[in-house]
Amino acid sequence: MYLPQFKYLKPGTVAEAVAMLSEYQGGAGVIAGGSDLIVKLKHQIVNLRYVVDLKGISNLYGIVSRADEMEIGALTKLSAIESSPEILNKALLLAQAASVVGGPQHRSMGTLGGNLCLDTRCYYFNQSKRWRQSRPPCYKTGGDRCYVAAKSPMCHAVYSGDTAPALIALGARVRIVGPEGEREQELELLYSGNGKRPINLDAQSIITSVIIPISPPYAGHAYEKYRLREAVDFPVVGAAVALSFEQPGGVCTRARIVLNAVGTAPSRVEEAEKSLLGRKLEEALEEAAELAYQSARPIHRMGGSPYYKKKLVKVLTRRALEKAGSMAIGNV
């Protein structure tokens, strides 16, 4: 399968990259590891005249530790993240999530920034051009309909990047540089919830780093990913949990539960989070898993029947809560 023609550009600085993206507005896109973008270009579900490679920008790599937070460059490879002693020590949840992305080759190509900006996926979208040509385009490819939900006014393609739910559970922020300069925002706000355009980032801006607050003492977390094969596959459902307790075995003081691959964005289940606060985990766990189950609204043809995916939400949330709880006590 040949790639359509484009011009390859390799800026040496962030400012240069932003200038290129601004100059070729609309026709230019960023490439990091390329493990998602090149496939999309081959399938011609995205068309670019200019491909701007960020890999020549040296200050987008690496891990910096400060007293209360840690900053990871957007171009840091997932393979480096899953094995970094620094991250294993201070943000284990991110390392866990990075270690279950794709296969080893995807992790040694794929970057953190690319993983966060992963496009949503759909059976009708991630297909070759010839396959798609058998029917008119849907919303996501510029058409006026959805094949998954015929009466729906919007695209329901599913978000399934593995590191975003983990990072949202940890309360991470992202640093973004665009023509107006630099800004910092909650990672959670990067996701629009619109399957057609899932990432809230204009075409001239790039993510330069991710900032993770260091968890307080007596914290525990876990990411549970269910997929059809133990390797390579995207999640059918994922659940990331981060909990903090007053003291080991005490009441819960902070809780985040983030579901993956059930909708168009990684999504927090706030009712379930609230149900844990001020209570001991073993007293609140079933209720929280049940609330997660009730809040999940997966739609059909997205890697499993809605019923099956909902049940998975409950099982994986419960499992992640149990693991997070025992990690906080120091059992693991």
């Binding site: 399968m1 040949y2 790639l3 359509p4 023609q5 484009f6 011009k7 390859y8 490439i31 390329g34 493990s35 090149i38 496939v39 081959k42 399938h43 491909v51 490679d53 890999k55 490879k77 393979s79 794709g102 296969g103 080893p104 080759q105 995807h106 040694s108 190509m109 133990e230 390797a231 390579v232």
Partner: protein, 155 residues
């Protein structure tokens, strides 16, 4: 077209490549290195795996222009002076090759693993080749072959 300098299996090349050419196409069609196979061509099967600066990557979804200054090892670079690499010998002796289509990628994933971790556990071997699909062997024999090659290299 962009001029790139890179080293493939110890040999320095200077080549003008198209911006939209993949590394796999350059290896196979321009350098005649047809060891790395084109299976799915969209990053799913692993048979196009080559090792770039010590890391296993999928050459079918890697742009050739990105290879400026890189060191690439393909399956053709393993045998030295007509002598098979311990991994190749072990695959041969353990019957780890059936149709053989996945083998170049499987061995390159094994190579990247052993270069970093000369004495892996079975679990580590299974994980290292988990991005390489094989429809024939059931993975058991490739796993045994990689463990045997690790053993042989240590002795």
């Amino acid at each position: 077209m962009t001029n790139i300098n890179f080293v493939v299996n110890g040999i320095r090349h200077q080549l003008a490549v198209k911006d939209n050419e993949t590394l796999l196409d350059v290896l196979r069609d321009r350098l005649g290195l047809t060891g790395a196979k084109k299976g799915c061509d969209i990053g799913e099967c692993g048979t196009c795996t080559v090792v770039v600066d010590g890391e296993p990557i999928l050459s079918c979804i890697t742009l050739a222009v990105e290879m400026e200054g890189k060191r690439i090892t393909t399956i053709e670079g393993l045998a030295q002076n007509g002598e098979l690499h311990p991994l190749q010998k072990a695959f041969h002796e353990h019957g780890a090759v059936q149709c053989g289509f996945c083998t170049p990628g499987m061995i390159m994933s094994g190579k990247a693993l052993l270069d970093k971790n000369p004495k892996p556990t079975e679990q580590e071997v299974r994980r290292a080749i988990s991005g390489n699909s094989c429809r024939c062997t059931g993975y058991d024999k490739p796993v045994k072959a990689i463990l045997a090659a690790a053993e042989a290299e240590i002795q």
